[in-house]
């Protein structure tokens, strides 16, 4: 089986690859969102802790 044949999926290429593409996108976003949220949260907490110390 060559690559063109593989991508063609017996005429159903559009349906198969759209399904897999959307799934990959949604699953990746679900990993990226909490990873970025954690970094932001920790930076925010550290900033507030430093500010609390400098004012007291």
């Amino acid at each position: 089986m060559n690559l063109t044949e593989f991508l063609h999926m017996g005429g159903y290429g559009f349906y198969v690859w759209t399904s897999y593409g959307i799934s990959l996108l949604v699953l990746l976003v679900n990993i990226i969102v909490p990873a970025r949220q954690k970094t932001k949260l920790l930076a925010d907490i550290a900033r507030k802790a430093r500010r609390a110390r400098s004012t007291s």
Binding site: G10, S19, L27, N30, A43, I45, A46, A49
Partner: protein
């Protein structure tokens, strides 16, 4: 010993650490199984004698649909534990599960729709299986919206626990919808009591993807739960220390 383990697990600090240690292993195992599943599903398994290659959508559609039900049951159980024993970790698991469950429900609906177009000739029909799965998506979105609408985290957690418990009635309705009603959606081929009516070459990638999706849920829910714990414990000493180490 077990008592001690659960006691430690229930403390936010230890949960944060243990979850952090587990995530890379779960994610690694998930990636391996996904790659194996894609290899067997897209390259090894033969085309279906009726549906050609379009049936390969099944390898994500079916595991995603299973996860949409599984995660909802986890949420309902966590909700019950949270309401009865006031266990904070159960509240954290409930709300951390909701966006992942909503994502899998969305994927089950969208991939089903894309599969339906070439096979049934339509993107959507209001049959019992599709409609009850759409209601499941609204239940997940309801849990997320309700939680973000209430500022007090403890009250919010109790409200979403009750919603999750009431909504669990939809789970058996979805599962049996293809038997109770005359649906365009096909009946079960794997989860029935006699022999599954699916060839082994197609069953193997399906099960690989199903286990991979379970592992995916496990590590992503832990990632989300860690953020939720940080948010709730942001004034605790250990969280400040952790934040300032970075």
């Amino acid at each position: 010993m077990f008592n001690n383990f659960f006691h430690k697990l229930a403390s936010p600090k230890h949960f944060y650490r243990i979850a952090g240690n587990l995530i890379p292993w779960l994610a690694g195992a998930c990636l391996l199984l996904v790659l194996a599943g894609l290899y067997y599903g897209l390259l090894v398994a033969p085309p279906d004698y009726q549906q050609g290659d379009s049936y390969r959508i099944m390898f994500i559609h079916v595991p995603a649909a299973w996860m949409s039900l599984f995660i909802y049951v986890v949420m309902a159980v966590a909700g019950a534990i949270g309401l009865i024993w006031r266990m904070k970790l159960a509240e954290v698991m409930l709300i951390s599960s909701a966006p992942i469950g909503a994502s899998f429900t969305f994927l089950a609906l969208v991939t089903g729709s894309i599969w339906g177009k070439p096979m049934w000739g339509t993107w959507w029909v209001w049959d019992a299986r599709l409609t009850s799965e759409l209601i499941l998506l609204f239940l997940y979105l309801g849990v997320i919206a309700l939680h973000s609408a209430i500022d007090d985290r403890r009250i919010a957690a109790r409200a979403v626990a009750i919603l999750a418990l009431v909504g669990v009635i939809n789970v058996p309705i979805i599962h049996y919808s293809v038997e109770w009603w005359n649906t365009l959606h096909q009946g079960p081929t794997v989860t029935k009591f006699d022999k599954p009516s699916i060839h082994l070459s197609m069953l193997i990638p399906l099960l690989l993807m199903a286990v991979a999706f379970k592992l995916y849920y496990a590590f992503v829910v832990l990632m989300r739960a860690r953020c939720e714990v940080l948010e709730r414990e942001r004034n605790a000493g250990w969280v400040r220390e952790l934040a300032e180490e970075k």
